[in-house]
């Protein structure tokens, strides 16, 4: 029975036999664990949100593995991509934060953390951390700040950014709703906290509909000068 299924292809006809020669199997140090991260900066707040699904291939390893990590009282980082590298990277960032605090007697600001992360990532230019990072927090003036990175350390400050597996689906929606792109004759209203949180929830619900790697639950971290508040919202589990 096994032989027949291999001999006959999907359309019922016999598959052609190709001798492929010796195949070299390589060990890959990376794997893709999915997940989507999103950050939005407001006038006096910042939101970092991520889904909590951890997948690999066709399986789900966990439904409760959030991708937001608290760094300081004013900064949260979202990391998606290869979970192993996410864990190591956040450990290294925590260690560097402690070292800075001991040397300089103060916490690192969001901008400083972003600059430091860029050099940490570039240090592994030839064996990169397979992580898409987004930092959300408050800058020195108390305004919301979002910094987005590529796997080797290129970064810039944004108002909003989506990263991870569903980023290509979320980013255009954010461009339209927060950046007012491709709209004419619309009043550019600044985003308040309640509207921003609702937008983030709506946007993740849409992402969970169409991206297999996004779903299960949504973890939202809201950063204000009072501190960091966390909220969990259920998403589709299929």
């Amino acid at each position: 029975a096994i032989m027949f299924t291999q001999v006959y292809g999907d359309n019922g006809k016999m598959k052609e036999y190709h001798y492929t020669g010796p195949v070299e199997h390589r060990f890959s140090p990376y794997s893709f664990n999915g997940g989507t991260v999103l950050a939005v900066a407001g006038e006096d707040f910042a939101i970092v949100a991520s889904d909590t699904r951890l997948s690999e291939g066709y399986s789900i390893h966990s439904r409760d593995s959030p991708k937001c990590y608290k760094l300081t009282n004013t900064t949260v980082i979202g990391c998606s991509g290869f979970h192993g590298d996410c864990l190591t990277l956040t450990k290294i960032i925590d260690a560097r934060l402690k070292m800075y605090k001991h040397s300089n007697n103060k916490s690192m600001t969001s901008g400083a953390i972003a600059a430091m992360l860029s050099t940490i990532l570039y240090g592994r230019r030839f064996f990169p951390y397979y992580v898409y990072n987004i930092i959300g927090g408050l800058d020195e003036e108390g305004k919301g700040a979002v910094y987005s990175f590529d796997p080797v350390g290129s970064y810039q400050r944004d108002t909003y950014k989506a990263g991870g597996s569903a980023s290509a689906m979320l980013q255009p929606l954010l461009d339209n709703q927060i950046g007012f792109k491709n709209m004419e004759g619309v009043q550019h209203l600044p985003l308040n906290q309640e509207k921003a949180v609702q937008l983030v929830k709506d946007v993740f619900i849409s992402a969970a509909e169409r991206d297999v790697y996004t779903g299960d639950a949504l973890r939202i971290c809201i950063v204000t000068k009072e501190g960091i508040k966390e909220e969990t919202v259920p998403l589709r589990k299929d």
Partner: protein
């Protein structure tokens, strides 16, 4: 090597995967990482092949590439014009990237190729230029700055860095413009355009520069138009046009114009 020296304690060399794990040290770095062919279980440098296996959900790590940047000398200094799009494969990662790096108040560097490579090495160049100033009590020349950059990246030749940059400034010999890239090229010139949209930009600037003695405003318009035309035809360029002018007192940012606005502006001009 420069990278190893700067990041001494923070990075561990995992590329010798199949052999003993070693810490990071300059001498080891030079012998191991250079030209040795990697086989068996060892990780090759082309990280892309390691994860571009056919197995379904594996994805290639994608860095940010694609651009149009240009710079040209004219009688009142140097004009530098760049676009602001960053792409990761076919996805537009950002439309608001700063591709002109302000090394110091009289030196500018442009960014084309790998975004992280350009920003990291030019930031390192800024540090080296500052050290030069402190040691020699005078500003560094454009030729020397570009040579520092070229020598830094030459040590990594063949390892996959992707950087095509123009170092523009004004020193005691007048306006300076050098093209430096990760292949090891370093050339002095009066006009350069770098990136996927460079050919389109060259067309515009070459025809515009035929008229002798441009004023500052005419030169700025020419630079702006060239980038706009490149964004029109090159899929990997777009966003905004950032324009800088370098003169004897240093550089200043002339304008930042959205390509959509420029399109309407030029359209109105042709319609008249």
């Amino acid at each position: 090597m420069a990278l190893a020296n700067v990041l001494q304690s923070e990075s561990v060399d995992f590329s010798n995967y199949g052999r003993k794990c070693r810490g990071f040290s300059s001498s080891l770095y030079e012998t191991e990482l250079g030209l040795e062919s990697v086989g068996g279980d060892n990780l090759s440098f082309a990280v892309r092949t390691a994860c571009s296996d056919g197995d379904g959900p594996e994805r290639k790590i994608q860095f940010l590439h694609g651009t149009t940047t240009l710079a040209f000398k004219f009688q009142h200094g140097v004009i530098v014009a760049v676009d602001s799009r960053a792409t990761a494969g076919a996805y537009i990662a950002s439309q608001t990237v700063k591709k002109v790096i302000e090394i110091n108040p009289y030196l500018l560097g442009t960014m084309a190729g790998g975004a992280a490579d350009c920003s990291f090495w030019e930031r390192l160049l800024a540090r080296q230029c500052r050290v030069y100033e402190l040691r020699n009590k005078e500003r560094i020349s454009v030729a020397a700055a570009s040579k520092l950059l070229a020598n830094m990246v030459y040590q990594y030749k063949g390892m996959g860095l992707s950087m095509g940059t123009m170092v523009c400034g004004w020193d005691k010999t007048g306006p300076g413009l050098y093209y430096v890239d990760s292949e090891g090229n370093r050339v002095c010139g009066d006009l350069f355009a770098v990136g996927s949209g460079s050919m389109y930009a060259y067309g515009i600037v070459d025809s515009g520069l035929k008229q002798k003695d441009l004023t500052v405003e005419e030169a700025c318009d020419l630079g702006c138009r060239a980038i706009y035309q490149a964004t029109y035809r090159d899929a990997y360029s777009g966003g905004q046009v950032n324009l800088y002018h370098v003169h004897s007192e240093g550089w200043n940012r002339v304008s930042q114009s959205d390509v959509l606005m420029l399109h309407q502006q030029y359209q109105n001009l042709t319609d008249q």
